[in-house]
């Protein structure tokens, strides 16, 4: 009944593809784009999306956790297991950022992608140093350039941003502000 493009000899149902996705994410152990996965799994985008959803559901209540940031997927440990994992790994982690850093992160998280000028408009102060430090920490990155004079850099959050907050995806961010200023 499915009209899957049967390029390879093996025809996989969602369960099979989900298992394959889990295996690939486990071995690669880094954020993997859905585009890459299409190639690796020899599958179509909708099928991979379906497999990602099914893997996320299958992992509910388990020690592993599927994280999704924009078009990237990564298999990580469940936020509920953070304490025990930290005991094993003893990773040094900065428990706090500056208030300015959280503010900037919040603005970027909800309004991404956006330019430094837009962030500064909202915060009302120069944000160069904060952006630099967030970028250095790997919590934000350049996601492109705005098609405007000077082609300013556009900033967005990273997978690591989700990791320090234990979120499965950006959709899990608490109450997004009413985007009142979508115009302008």
């Amino acid at each position: 009944m499915t009209a899957v493009v049967e390029t390879a000899t093996q025809v996989r149902d969602t369960a099979g593809l989900t298992a394959a996705l889990e295996a690939v994410l486990f071995t690669l152990n880094r954020p993997v784009t859905v585009l890459e996965l299409q190639d690796i799994l020899q599958s179509t985008l909708p099928d991979i999306e379906a497999a990602a959803v099914s893997l996320g559901q299958a992992l509910a209540g388990r020690g592993l956790f599927l994280q999704r940031h924009q078009d990237q997927l990564q298999l990580v440990t469940d936020p509920a297991q953070a304490d025990v994992v930290r005991r094993v790994l003893r990773p040094e982690y900065p428990s706090r950022l500056s208030p300015a850093a959280y503010e900037t992160l919040a603005i970027i998280a909800y309004r991404q992608p956006l330019t430094r000028a837009r962030i500064e408009e909202i915060r009302g102060v120069n944000c160069e140093a904060v952006l630099e430090s967030l970028e250095e920490k790997g919590l934000i990155e350049e996601t492109g350039r705005l098609e405007a004079p000077g082609t300013p850099r556009l900033f967005g959050t990273t997978m690591k941003f989700l990791q320090i907050l234990g979120l499965s995806s950006l959709d899990e961010l608490p109450l997004p502000p009413q985007s009142a200023s979508t115009s302008s």
Binding site: F26, L28, N29, R30, F65, Q67, Q74, L75, V76, T77, D78, P79, A80, A82, D83, V85, R86, L89, P91, Y93, S95, R96, L97, P99, Y102, E103, L105, A106, I107, A109, Y110, E121, I122, R123, G124, L162, Q163, I164, L165, G166, L173, P174, L175, P177, A180, S181
Partner: protein, 248 residues
């Protein structure tokens, strides 16, 4: 007196202006100036500011009062500047209203993000992180020899073929030690962590020297200090310096 003005007077004034041209709360000054009922040209804003700065030195008013003065002061300066301009556009009051709305909107937007930021901070402080697996992809050990032995041997044969044919036999004790060659190779790899296979034999003048160099290379690969790889079939073989792993 309009209701607006009356309410300005009822409020605890941000600052009392005392100048010959105007005497009263600064809020009232702004209201009147916006209606062009007072001539701002007659009020020296610079000395008004100086007086205010002296006043806050003494009284140390709370931050919201300081901010209120700043906003009113900025609008007075803007009004005065507009009045001084030869072709001051009419409808300043509307512009000011728009300006005030824009500022308010921005402040509200900022406030929302401030709340969200606190939310992020609490979440971060809760330490409910997610962790990726322990092994970084580039820490996964690589095969030390990624070239077939035949390819390695034939590359070496080419090196030998390139050497000048042995001349008349001169019996001479040549001292080429494996230890020296090992050290030489290590130095080469420190200077240049990736070498072409043939470059390894750059300094070899005799077959014996080339053979010992080759042995030295094999030894480095064996003890894990070097790695050889070939890009494709018949491609140039490269020798890489391999970082010593600390374990084992």
């Amino acid at each position: 007196m309009s209701r607006e003005i009356a309410s300005e007077l009822e409020r605890d004034p941000v600052y009392l202006v005392r100048t010959p041209a105007f005497d009263g709360p600064i809020e009232l000054l702004l209201t009147l100036a916006q209606r062009a009922e007072v001539d701002l040209g007659a009020i020296p804003l610079a000395s008004l500011t100086d007086d205010y700065l002296r006043a806050i030195e003494r009284e140390r008013p709370p931050l919201d009062r300081l901010a209120a003065f700043l906003v009113i002061g900025a609008r007075l300066v803007q009004l005065k500047a507009a009045a001084l301009m030869p072709q001051a556009p009419v409808g300043e009051e509307e512009d000011l209203q728009a300006w005030e709305d824009a500022i308010k909107g921005r402040l509200e937007e900022y406030k929302r993000f401030k709340e969200l930021a606190e939310n992020l901070m609490r979440r971060h402080a809760s330490g409910r992180f997610t962790f990726a697996g322990l092994l970084e992809p580039d820490v996964i050990p690589q095969a030390r020899v990624q070239v077939s032995l035949d390819a390695l041997a034939s590359a070496f044969q080419q090196v030998l073929d390139r050497l000048p044919p042995p001349g008349p036999v001169t019996v001479e004790m040549e001292q080429v030690s494996l230890a020296d060659k090992l050290e030489e190779l290590r130095q080469m790899l420190v200077r240049q962590p990736q070498l072409n296979f043939t470059a390894v034999f750059r300094h070899a003048r005799t077959r014996l020297e080339a053979v010992v160099t080759f042995l030295a290379l094999l030894e480095l690969i064996r003890i894990g200090e070097a790695r050889v790889a070939q890009v494709g079939a018949f491609g140039e073989i490269s020798v890489y310096r391999q970082e010593q792993s600390n374990e084992a």
